[in-house]
Structures are given as C-alpha cells and as structure tokens.
C-alpha cells in the first residue's frame, strides 16, 4: 500500500517519467505459511523467498537480508488468482458494429484508473484477461493484464510476456446484434459458422497477395503494386499461423462442436471455449481437441441458450480431462473467484487441488502463461495471495496480494478511498446498485435494445 501511495505521490508531484516507468519488481520473504503450490502439493510451515519479482526459493528456515519479512503463520499462501475472462479496466468493450473486428485491440482502451482493479486485488486476483465483448463472431484482440494498480499508466498493466489472444463469439449475441439488429449476417448459428469460414478463407487469400507482392519486390527492376492493407485479415492469418489463441464465447454444445470442426479443418489447435455452459455435453471432444473450457461456477437461465446447463459443468469437464478454469466476466465476481471456484466442490465434489487449479494453473495454461504464473514454484513470477483461512472456505478473507513481489493490497493498510482520480465537477458521487460496466455485452446491449430493457441482471 505504501508503494501505491508513493507511486501516486510521485505522479502527482513530478509527473510520470517514462524512464522510471519500468514495471515495479519487489522482494519479500513470507515465512511459516501453509503453501498451496497447486502444482506440487501442500507445504506446511514453509517459507517463500521472492527476489526482484521472482520466486527465488521455497523451503524451511529461509533467511534474507534487506528484505521485508512477513510472518504468515497459520495463514495460507496461494498463487495469485487468474481470471481468464474479464472486462475490468477497459474503456470500451464491444466494437459491436461489424461481425468481424479482429483489427481492434483491447490494449488501445485500457483504463488504468478502474477501481475494479483494486477490488480484484482485494479478492486475490493478480492477472486478468481483458477481453473484447461478445457482440461479434470474431471480436477484438484481447490483452492480459497484471494488476499493477496505482500508476495510472495503461502500459504498466500489460503483461508483456503473455501470449496473444483473440475473442470469438457464437450463438445468441452475434446473431442478435448483427442479424436481428442490423440486418446483416449472421442471423443464425449457420451464419456464424459461415462468417468465420469466410473470414479464414479471405485471410488465406490476403496472406497470399502480400506474399506475392513481397516476393516480386525481390525481383530486380520490378515495380509491383502493393495490395491493400487490412489488419483485420492480417490478424486472422496470424490465427491460422498458430500465433494467437482463440478464446471463444459459446454456450450450446452444437456451436462448440461446430467451431472445433472448423478449427480442425483450418489446422487451428489453439482454442479455449469461454462460458461454454453446455461444454459438459461435448466434454470428450473438448478434452481431445482444445485448450479447454473457462466456465462460470453456476450461472444459468439468464438467457435461453443457457437454460439447459448445469452447475456441475466444471466438475464434469474436469473429470473428463478438459483443462477447466472458472472465470468472472464480471467486476463483481472477480472479487471472489476463490469462492466461485469453491462451488465446484458443492457441485461435483472436486478435490481442493482440482478446485484451486480452476483459478490458477488452468487459466494460466489457457492464456499461454503457465510457465510464468499460476503456481508457486521457484523461478516463477511472484504473484501471491495470503488468506487467513483456506481459500476455498466461504469465511476466507484475502489478507495481502502481491504482483511481481510488490504488495498491492494489504487488508491491514487499506485506506477508505482507493480511487486514483476523481471528477472535479460532480459533487454527488454515483451510486452503483448493479454491476454493469464489466461484462460481455457491455455497450452493445444498451445500444441494442437502445432505450433498452437490458439491465435486469446478467447479460453475457
């Protein structure tokens, strides 16, 4: 906390000097904790030494000089929680104006002031996958964030060594926005498939036209005419080249299976299905051909395509060998993902280790960052949370949250007002009774039903 205040002060007093704006790395020694490594079992009464943002050593009786030491006796230390589907810290969520918008980048619209980041930290979440919304069959390029709240600099939040990912969306949302809303394809699940196939095939042609151009440039004396540039098709071509992981908003088993088949035809193996409420119905296929499923703990029935779903989804998927994670897709749920994961024990009786994996190593795998975060292992980045009780207990309260060894949340040094900036012109502060800025259909729903009927509860 002191760090954050220091950062804020620095920014206010001197202005931010980009020379200093390299991401903060911290060192800390956490002693005597029950360490829930997730990948290497539970280590009782164990110390974890962090040096310069990296977990240096895990063991007993560790010492270090010139490093803050925290006694975590009787407390639980787990890896920072990872949310594989979030819209926190984004200024805009949906460019819901075209069925394919692979050219748009969530990195362009990061809102480093979002109080949602601090709330997520207070819930132990250190990494979130800031996604485009679900209005388009192929949405924008997502960005993986590390919750380094405080500097007000978008760039500081970007996890630079994360894999590239992109949002896809099937079913009701794209057909509602484009087909029923704007009178263009897709209006049905048939159309969604066709739009995606069209996109990939156009991308193949696009890539070829640039290759032809680039090759003829090498011919001496040639004066080839450059083709048109399209970041939209360029991005799709990079998906085909295996450079980008697809995270696909999906609900029904048929549409999930459809995209599995399309991807197999185009040679795409990097795909994660998100929400995927009926994933349990095609669990064997998800296990065999994809990077898994990222699901809600128990959300259902808020729209027709999730009516035939079950809270046992995570358990069925896990037992079938699907890499499974539990995500928030909500500025509210992101505050207690440990509790959301815990519900997989109510519905399907997963073990503690299986359950903790749902919010740590498994989402890390799906985001292509499992070699860096998602478990407590020597050499990994020091994203850590201390809980007072076992994190899967409803009574557990996160005590401290570290990103890269820097403490960004400490319940004992938690000031009242953690906003980084306030408006000068509004003396009456807004009151929020519902969470409606951080979700999949943000923006679109409103415009959709326009003077709309949207805000009764969830829309995802």
């Amino acid at each position: 906390m002191k760090k954050i205040i220091y950062i804020i002060a620095a920014v206010m007093v001197m202005g931010w000097n980009p020379a200093n704006s390299q991401t903060q790395k911290g060192s800390v020694l956490i002693k005597n904790a029950t360490v829930l490594t997730v990948t290497k079992g539970i280590l009782e009464d164990t110390d974890v030494l962090v040096e310069n943002g990296i977990i240096k050593k895990i063991g007993k009786g560790l010492t270090a000089s010139n490093v803050t030491t925290i006694d975590a006796k009787g407390k639980y230390l787990m890896p920072g929680i990872i949310d594989a589907h979030s819209h926190v810290a984004l200024d805009a969520v949906n460019e819901g104006t075209a069925p394919i918008t692979s050219e748009v980048r969530m990195a362009d619209v990061i809102d480093p002031y979002d109080i949602g980041l601090y709330r997520a930290l207070a819930g132990g979440v250190t990494v979130s996958h800031a996604m485009h919304g679900s209005a388009n069959a192929i949405g924008g390029q997502n960005i993986t964030l590390k919750h380094r709240y405080g500097s007000g600099i978008p760039d500081d939040l970007i996890m630079k060594d994360a894999a590239r990912t992109i949002k896809f969306a099937l079913g009701e949302n794209p057909t509602r926005v484009h087909g029923r809303g704007n009178g263009i394809q897709p209006k049905s699940r048939m159309g969604v498939e066709a739009v995606i196939r069209n996109g990939f095939n156009e991308a193949i042609q696009y890539k070829k036209s640039w290759e032809t151009y680039d090759n003829s440039l090498k011919v001496k004396g040639a004066t080839p005419v450059p083709p048109k540039y399209s970041e939209r098709l360029q991005t799709l071509a990079e998906i085909l080249d295996g450079k980008i992981i697809i995270h696909c908003h999906s609900y029904r088993a048929d549409e999930i299976y459809m995209l599995i088949i399309v991807c197999r035809e185009f040679g795409i193996t990097k795909i994660v299905f998100s929400h995927v409420n009926e994933g349990f119905k095609v669990a064997p296929e998800l296990a065999a051909y994809t990077m898994g499923a990222s699901v809600f703990a128990d959300w259902w029935a808020y729209k027709f395509e999730v009516y035939y779903s079950t809270a046992y989804n995570a358990a069925i998927l896990t037992q079938n060998g699907v890499i499974t994670s539990i995500n928030s897709d909500s500025g509210e749920l992101i505050r207690h993902l440990y509790h959301e994961a815990g519900k997989a024990q109510r519905y399907g009786e997963l073990t503690d280790e299986q359950t903790l994996a749902l919010i740590t190593i498994n989402p890390a795998k799906q985001l292509g960052i499992a070699d860096k975060v998602g478990s407590i292992e020597e050499g990994k980045q020091a994203d850590l949370v201390i809980f007072d009780e076992h994190p899967l207990s409803v009574y557990a309260i996160p005590q401290m949250t570290f990103v890269d060894g820097v403490k960004y949340f400490d319940i004992n040094e938690d000031p009242n007002d953690m906003r980084l900036r306030v408006a000068a012109t509004e003396a009456i502060e807004p009151i929020f009774l519902k969470e409606h800025n951080h979700k999949c259909m943000h923006g679109v729903d409103f415009l959709f039903s326009n003077f709309g009927r949207s805000l009764f509860d969830h829309e995802h």
Partner: protein, 565 residues
C-alpha cells in the same frame, strides 16, 4: 508545398487583393469605408512580445502592417492618431483551435445498400477532404464575440466525425474580405465514433483506433502506388480514393495532425498512433497533462489547452457540516478542481510550449480564466505567449504574427489596463490593420449579456440534437411550435427496433426562463420507456440531459436549424 509557403502565398494574394480594392473602390455610398488605413497609437504601454514592454511607446500601422513600434516613431500626416495614455497594447490573440463561424456540413444520405459494418467514409465520419472554409461564415456573431475578447487570428476546426477535415487559418479582420490566411493547414482527428448510436463502424475508441491505422496505412500504400504509376509503365492504374488522397499531405508529413484528446488516456492513444506512424502531432483540448508531460515532450508534440475552466462546485463546500468520510472525499474533489486550474502551469513547468484554444470556452470568460490560471502558477509571460507567439509557432505563422514588430501584420489588442488586472477591459482590437472599438463600461454591472436575447428565449423551430450514450452517439431532430402560451412538438430518434428513425410526440414541454424540460415515450421491443429531457436554452443552442429512468442519463446538445425562406 509547406504550410508556411502556402501561408505566405495567401498573404501575398491578400495584400494584392487589398491594394486592388483600394485603387478601384472609389466610392462607398454606405459611408462605412474608413478614411485612412494609417493609424498611430501614441504614448501607450506596448508589450511587443512576452517580457518585452515599451513604456510611452507609439505604434504605427499602415495598410495592414506594423510600420513602426517604439519610442521614436514619426507619425505621418495621413495617420489617424489615438492617444494611448493609460492604454496597454499587446499582440493580437491567436486562437489555436476555434469553431467560431464554423457550421456543420450537411448530413450525408445513407445509400440504399447501406451496411453499418462497412459504411461509406462520410457516414463513418471520415472526410479528410473537407476544407473548413466551405462551412465558414466570416460574418458570424461568434467572430464578433471572440474578437471583442482580443482574438485576431484563429485556426478553424471543421465540425464532423473522427476525421472531420482540414483546418484553415483566418484573421478576424474586416468582414468584407475573405480573411483567409491559410487553407488545409492541418488535419483534425477526434475520438468520435460514426453517427448512428454506436451501431455504425467505427462505434467506439476500439474501432476508431483501428480505423485510423487502416486509413493511414492504406493512404501510405495508395500514395506509393500513385507515385509508382506516375513513373512506371505497365502498371494497373491506381483506384482514386478521395480519403486516401486527402491524407497524402499527412503521410508525406507536410501538415500536422490535430488530435482532440480530452484526458491523459486519450492523449496516450494519440501519442501511440503518432509513434506508430510518425506524423507531426498537435494535441488539442487536453486535461490531466501532469500524467503525460514527459511522453508529450518525448513525442515532440505541441499542445493546445482550452480556455474553458469548469464551474467551481466544491471549494466553497461547508466542510464543517460534513462527516469525516465526506470531508475526505470532498477534499479530493477540491484537489481535482485545483488540478484543472493548474494545467497551464504544469505545462509551463514541464517546458512544453502550448497555446490556448477557445474550444468549449465562452468568450466572456477569457480574462477571468486567464487570471485563475495565473493565480494557480502560470507566469504572466507564458500566459501571453500561449495567447500569441506560441500559437503563431504552432500554426506556422510566426513570420507575420504573434508579436508586435515592424513588418508583421497589424493585429493587436488594446486594453484599459494590464492583461491580468481584474478591472481591465478591451478598448480596441486591431485585426488585419482594421480597428474595432468597444464601449468601456463604467464599473459595476459587470454582467455582460452573453447573447443578445435575454428574457424569453425563442424555442419554436427546427432543432438538430445529438446525445452521447455509453453505446455511442445518437441523434435526431425536434420540431417545436408555439401555440398560445404553450409549446407542441415532435422528436425523432434512432429506432430501437432498428432501421432508421422513429418519432414521438414531445410531452409536457415547459420553458421557464431558459430552463427547458419535456418528455417523450419510446417503444423499445414492446416496452414503453419514458425519456425525460431537461436543459438550458441559450440562443440557438440547447445543452442538457436526456434521462432514461434507471438506465442512466446522458448529455444532449441541440442546435437550431436556420429558418429556410
């Protein structure tokens, strides 16, 4: 052609034109023609440039130029002499970005095969080929208002969407002249989505960023193609695209891009596009600059800061009546307000040369807001520089504007006191060598009529409105008729069911003083919603809010359409 050369050429034309007029215009039956173009102001305190002041000086103006300035100026016989004792002369103010006299171009028609995912450029708000002069009325009242506040030159910003068009530089001189100093001097870009309530591409900052990159990259490629075509045989002809063609001066780095960027987040977005593409960048309408000063410097970007300051809502809050918690929060709002007042001084301290812009500001607040900024750390010299020489540099017109020197254009403001004195009033403005006189009010009753129509506000007529919702901007028209003491009207809006506009009757239209309110019903998928509108009418503008019960409330602005005869 570099903008400077262009500007110079325009000046040349202007001078020739003026000379020509003088020789031919033998008679003026209106009696409005001035007797002499030679004016001398004697014995004044003349600040020729920030920090350079001549006491008891004389300035001589001849045929639109400054002939001499100093303490030993010989005054020719034909000069009209003004006694400047107790007067203070400063270089005429230059407005870095202005919409005075600029109107919105007509809305383009939607084609019959309109596809919101791929709209024509003009509907998407991409019209870089537009020249602001085509929508400029040099006799507009706003010009009168700004000149009265000391402004003599302005860079005009076109109205429109994300790339509304190119700017022009005009002098606020005699309205019988076109007064254009330069055209197509910069390209304007804003973070504004296409019209159509967020349903037309690009609808959000996401699409705007991507679309800008797309336009820029393809303009570069198209430019390369046409250059190849011009010098090689056997090539396919380039497909002429007026958007790309209009971008050539930008991609060739001949003119700068003025990015309207409201806060640090938008500034960073503009800076990242600049970094990717390398164009010359001017940031306009900025705030929260303390977060981005070093980035602005690193990018060599120039800055235009609005003269607008928000209303003070909190510094007089009764703190003692508040709880500890509310005290702390109110303090933060006060700090935020103070930080807005400090924007100019932060830029100065960071060594970023900046100019002022009138965008969003009221002309009558100019001196008051300047004083507030100086009270908050801005030095007097920089305040003046930001009104004069800095903007001349940013606009590339420093050769003939920005200071009072021999040979420069005769643009100056003549005050009754020092620039930052609370009692100071504007007595004369010389623009393009023409003298404009203003009545000096004898103390008190300082409330200046902001627009000629006090009392009852004319509400009846046709209005265009836009409303910014989280989903993007939406728009429509209002037709209001006066019937006896009450009003009746209809309003159109984007049809929630899709496909064009729907209309409803305006209910409970009430106008008391300038406060307007009314409501209308919207049918959204079988559900009827009441939309409440409230706002202030000021001349041909309405600014207010459109509120949709629990869904929120959104700013709405309306402009009256001129009557068609």
């Amino acid at each position: 052609m570099s903008p400077n050369i262009k500007v110079f050429k325009s000046i040349l034309v202007l001078v020739l034109f003026l000379t020509f007029q003088y020789t031919m215009a033998q008679s003026d039956p209106s009696g409005e023609k001035r007797v002499t173009g030679t004016i001398a102001i004697k014995n004044a305190t003349i600040t020729t440039a920030p920090g350079k002041t001549i006491q008891n000086g004389t300035i001589l103006i001849k045929n639109g130029l400054i002939e001499a300035v100093g303490t030993n100026v010989i005054i020719p016989k034909e000069a009209q002499v003004i006694l400047g004792d107790s007067l203070f002369i400063y270089p005429g103010f230059i407005d870095g970005a202005s919409t005075a006299g600029v109107s919105k171009p007509a809305e383009p028609e939607k084609p019959s095969d309109f596809n919101p995912a791929n709209p024509p450029d003009d509907i998407a708000g991409i019209t870089p080929w537009r020249n602001v002069i085509d929508n400029y009325d040099n006799k507009n009242n706003q010009i009168y208002d700004w000149r009265k506040s000391g402004f003599t030159i302005a860079q005009l910003i076109p109205e429109g969407g994300m790339i509304p068009g190119k700017t022009a530089i005009v002098v606020f001189g005699n309205p019988s002249s076109a007064n254009i100093l330069a055209q197509n001097s910069a390209l304007v870009v804003k973070f504004q989505g296409a019209r159509g309530g967020g349903r037309v591409y690009p609808g959000t900052p996401l699409g705007i960023m991507a679309k800008f990159r797309d336009v820029y990259k393809n303009a570069e490629l198209a430019s390369r193609h046409s250059k190849l075509f011009a010098s090689n045989a056997g090539l396919n002809r380039p497909e002429i695209n007026k958007t790309y063609e209009a971008m050539y001066p930008v991609v060739d780095k001949n003119i700068p891009v003025i990015f309207e960027a409201n806060d640090d987040i938008e500034i960073r977005r503009a800076l990242s596009l600049q970094k990717e593409n390398g164009f010359r960048l001017i940031l306009s309408g900025v705030s929260n600059v303390e977060k981005v000063t070093s980035e602005i410097k690193a990018a060599n970007a120039q800055v235009l800061l609005s003269l607008k300051l928000p209303d003070d809502k909190v510094t007089k809050a009764k703190m003692e009546e508040l709880s500890e918690e509310m005290k702390a929060r109110t303090k933060r709002i006060q700090d935020a307000y103070a930080s807005i007042l400090k924007q100019a001084s932060i830029l100065e301290a960071a060594g970023i040369p900046f100019g002022f812009t009138s965008m969003g500001a009221k002309s009558g607040d100019t001196f008051k807001n300047l004083r507030l900024m100086v009270e908050n750390g801005l030095t007097e010299n920089t305040a003046l520089a930001a009104l004069t020489i800095n903007n001349a540099n940013i606009l590339g017109i420093q050769k003939f504007a920005g200071t009072l020197e021999k040979g420069k254009s005769a643009n100056m403001v003549i005050l009754t006191g020092p620039l930052l004195d609370g009692e100071t009033q504007v007595k004369h403005v010389v623009a393009d060598g023409f003298m404009f006189d203003y009545e000096i009010k004898t103390k008190k009753n300082g409330t200046d009529e902001k627009n000629g129509n006090n009392g009852s506000v004319p509400l009846d007529g046709f209005w265009d409105y836009t409303s910014d919702t989280p989903a993007g901007s939406s728009s429509g028209t209002m037709e209001i008729k006066k019937e006896g003491d009450s009003y009746k009207g209809t309003i159109t809006y984007d049809n929630p069911g899709g496909g064009g506009k729907a209309s409803s009757e305006m209910k409970n239209i009430s106008l008391s003083g300038s406060a307007l309110s009314f409501s209308f019903d919207v049918d959204a998928g079988g559900m009827s919603l009441v939309v409440n509108v409230s706002g202030e009418v000021s001349g041909d503008q309405i600014s207010g809010n459109l509120s949709l019960s629990e869904y929120g409330s959104f700013p709405m602005n309306a402009t009256k359409k001129p009557k068609l005869f």
